[in-house]
Amino acid sequence: MSALLRTEGLTKHFRGLVANDGIDFSLRSGEVRSIIGPNGAGKTTFLSMISGHLPPTSGRIWYRDREITSFSVVRRARIGIGRKFQTPTLFESLSAYENVELAVLRTESPPAKREARVNAALGTVRLAEGRDTPAQFLAHGQRQWLEIALLLASNAELLLLDEPTAGMTVEETAATAELINRLARERNLSIIIIEHDINFIRDLAARVTVLHLGRVLTEGPFEEVAADQRVREVYLGS
């Protein structure tokens, strides 16, 4: 099966600092992939180059066999690449419903269809009851879910989730793992997740890519990666 997303030699320099150094990466359709690594490993930079928020210094990116290296953020969003930021980035004064409605509006205009899609997205992330609450008054975990709902409602097929469980309770984190697996399984969505919560990564049971000093250190199933001595030394601890 051909890759949904592929990067080749993706490199990003910030003046003298090498944030990403020749990353070759590929993701299949419907696959969930966790990216872990110590702070400063280049995880968010990598995600930003895929979403178009940062231009690579060198290297190329393909999405559905089409090179998208030069595509803008807007163009990438329109072909199905959705980004959830490290800090929830929402329309703060608007209700949860209005937040999701904005995501739907770009592609869907008839009010009945629009409302159905908004409600479906809110229901998926367990926010149906909080639909009228302004985003700024939602609990931190709910804010994370609301941002995921925006991506679902915008018809994104590749979700880039930067620390989706930050600030969540244990129950909320478990529910998020279940949600992500369900989205991949039932909707065939492809998901890349950056996380520091190792229990969450284990619960996801997805393939893991470990970044260290801007390079791919190793890649494989969680158990295999967790047992890797190099990973234990640089990130997990012995």
Binding site: V74, A77, G82, L94, S95, F137, L150
Partner: protein, 343 residues
Amino acid sequence: MSQISLSLRRRSAGVDRRFFAGETTAAAALFLILAAVPPIIAGYPTYILPQYMLFGVLAMSLSLLWGFAGIVSFGQAAFFSVGAYAMGLMMHQDYGFNPAYAGILIAIPAATLLAAVTGYFLFSAGARATYFVLVTLALSISAEQVAVSQSGITGGWNGLFVDRMELTFGPLGAVSLTDDARMFYFVLVIVICVYLLMRRLTTGKFGKVLVGIRENENRLTALGYDVAFYKTLAFALSGGVAGLAGALYATHANFVSPSLGGVLFSTQAVVWVAIGGRGSLLGALAGGIVVSSLTNYLSAVIPDYWQLALGFIFIVVIVFFKRGLAGLLESAFEALRHWRTAR
């Protein structure tokens, strides 16, 4: 915290159905009160209020930008003056058809085009907040300077005298608007039409996207919206509306001068919107009418201190009533509704 303030705090800043129902009632009341002016208070109020209503239209044009998209423009007077000069210049021509219609037909696209071109370059380059304010300030200064320097066309500081327009209906005849009451009702109809069109625009997809821009431009971009396009469109529309107001102002006031495009007039528009309530088109419209009337009154009663008094009112509103008069009224209605439910 009381339940009332909690319910207000928790209200979304997006489209609130109850608020819009309330705005419909308030709009109907405002237009009915205005319509009653000529038969009840003939004379000066009937003469001057159309000007203030047109200032209200100018304020609405700014409200579209500031209230909905969060873009503060100090250049609205430039578009107003483009419309005013277009009308002034056309009224001096004789092409064999109604020059006022030609004035309006040129005023709107000319002001729209100026705003669209300015907006395109600014928004495509990612200009935001302070930078945008500075450029729009420069636009106002330039508009005034062009009007002064091109005295062969514009009359320079002497300005242009403009006749009152007349409405022509082809073979059906014509209605002169030299009569103040007729002019009043003509302007009122235009104001109502502009208000309804802008309201329809702002309650639909376009308005929601503008609110999204105000709330979080980066999120909207990440959802695939071309934010620069929407901002340019909003700026162009607001320019067109300001141009229409300027064109009608010229024929109503019978005079166009360079100061119409200046920074002072642009700043006045900002004050009208801030006092009226930038989140509401009706608030902005009322702000233009009320503050202009108040300015007129204060300048007659306390000629030496009226600017000070107006400045004081502006500061009080900005500090204590951030949502302006419209927000104050909305809170009062909300409290009343709560009081009724609690009984």
